[in-house]
Symmetry: C2
Subunit: 206 residues, 2 copies
């Protein structure tokens, strides 16, 4: 959703091909996700596939990413509470992170109980991602981050870093990281990649 | 996709709420379609529901509406042949008209043979819609049409009216209308609404 992300020196789609074409590509990619999820998958029941599609649709729309982005736009120039900021991010970035994790679990034919437990993990992973993103934006230089650093502050956009301060944000990251690892405990070595993902989200510097 | 459609005096979404919010609403509505189609429907098998979702996804994405719109943008200022123009419209507007008709047939648990026959009908209905749209754009005044008439010509946009002339376009409409009614013949009175839809597409003046 950012206008100025530059990765490996390549301009974003809308810079290279124009806004209209970039929007069409976005529409086409959203369709492609549902096209892919609705192909019959060996070893996964049709009922479960429908549940997976429903999960992704809810996470993408007004109850997920699109709704969270709308709230985020409305919050520019405001001073939301930490709870309000959390509500925005649970929807804006958290919902798709959560659905990515749960879709993977569905592919392993996870039980309802396992899905619920992974949902708790995913909520923490999503928040961790956002808080670390805010801290990096406030701290890093533009070259390391791959996007314009300090942009949030320049746009007067509320962030965890601005609401909690550096110390408070770091402390919240430490707490959430511990909780995230704990929620994965019942899965033993099957959750190895998710433990690694948790550490990657926190330790990345870009 | 038009920027200047005015219906009943109400401004379009992007005029009323800004482009960013209008784009988010579009994203959310696309998700909502898949959210709705992935809810379990009484009397329809899960396998068929997956086929319905796949149909809509294909019709919306790069092989359907989004791809057709991209081709349409690329054709502005060009002089495509009638076949090229048909290819654009089969994707840009035809694909979603076709999927609407086939999704309805799926809800009635139509057979593969019935779906194929209705696909032939739907292709004609989609083209009829577009040709009549072109004729109306060239002919009507803005008040009747509900959007800015003559816009296609002003944008140097290829249309059936400009490629075939008024007489040629009218003749093509008459042929396609007859073919459309014929393809519905095997369905007897069950296709009453589709016969009516065909006449409505041709006889409308807005």
């Amino acid at each position: 959703m950012d206008n100025d992300i530059l990765r490996r020196g390549k301009p974003t789609c809308h810079v290279e091909f124009g806004e209209a074409m970039a929007l069409l590509v976005g529409d086409a990619l959203q369709s492609l996700a549902f096209q892919t999820l609705s192909m019959r998958m060996p070893g996964i029941g049709a009922e479960r596939q429908l549940a997976m599609i429903h999960l992704l649709a809810l996470a993408s729309g007004s109850h997920g990413m699109a709704g969270g982005q709308a709230l985020d736009m409305a919050a520019v120039g405001q001073q939301p509470t930490v709870n309000e900021l959390e509500f925005i991010h649970i929807h804006k970035t958290g919902a798709l992170i959560r659905s990515s994790i749960l879709l993977g679990a569905h592919c392993g034919n996870a039980s309802a109980e396992e899905l619920e437990q992974l949902g708790h993990y995913a909520n923490r992973a999503g928040l961790l991602f956002q808080i670390v993103d805010d801290i990096l934006d406030a701290e890093c230089n533009t070259a390391t981050l791959g996007k314009t650093a300090g942009k949030d502050a320049a746009q007067n956009k509320p962030t965890y870093a601005s609401l909690l301060g550096k110390v408070g944000a770091d402390s919240l990251v430490a707490d959430l990281r511990g909780e995230a690892h704990e929620t994965l405990a019942p899965f033993d070595s099957r959750a190895l990649r998710l433990h690694e993902l948790t550490d990657f989200i926190v330790d990345r510097n870009f």
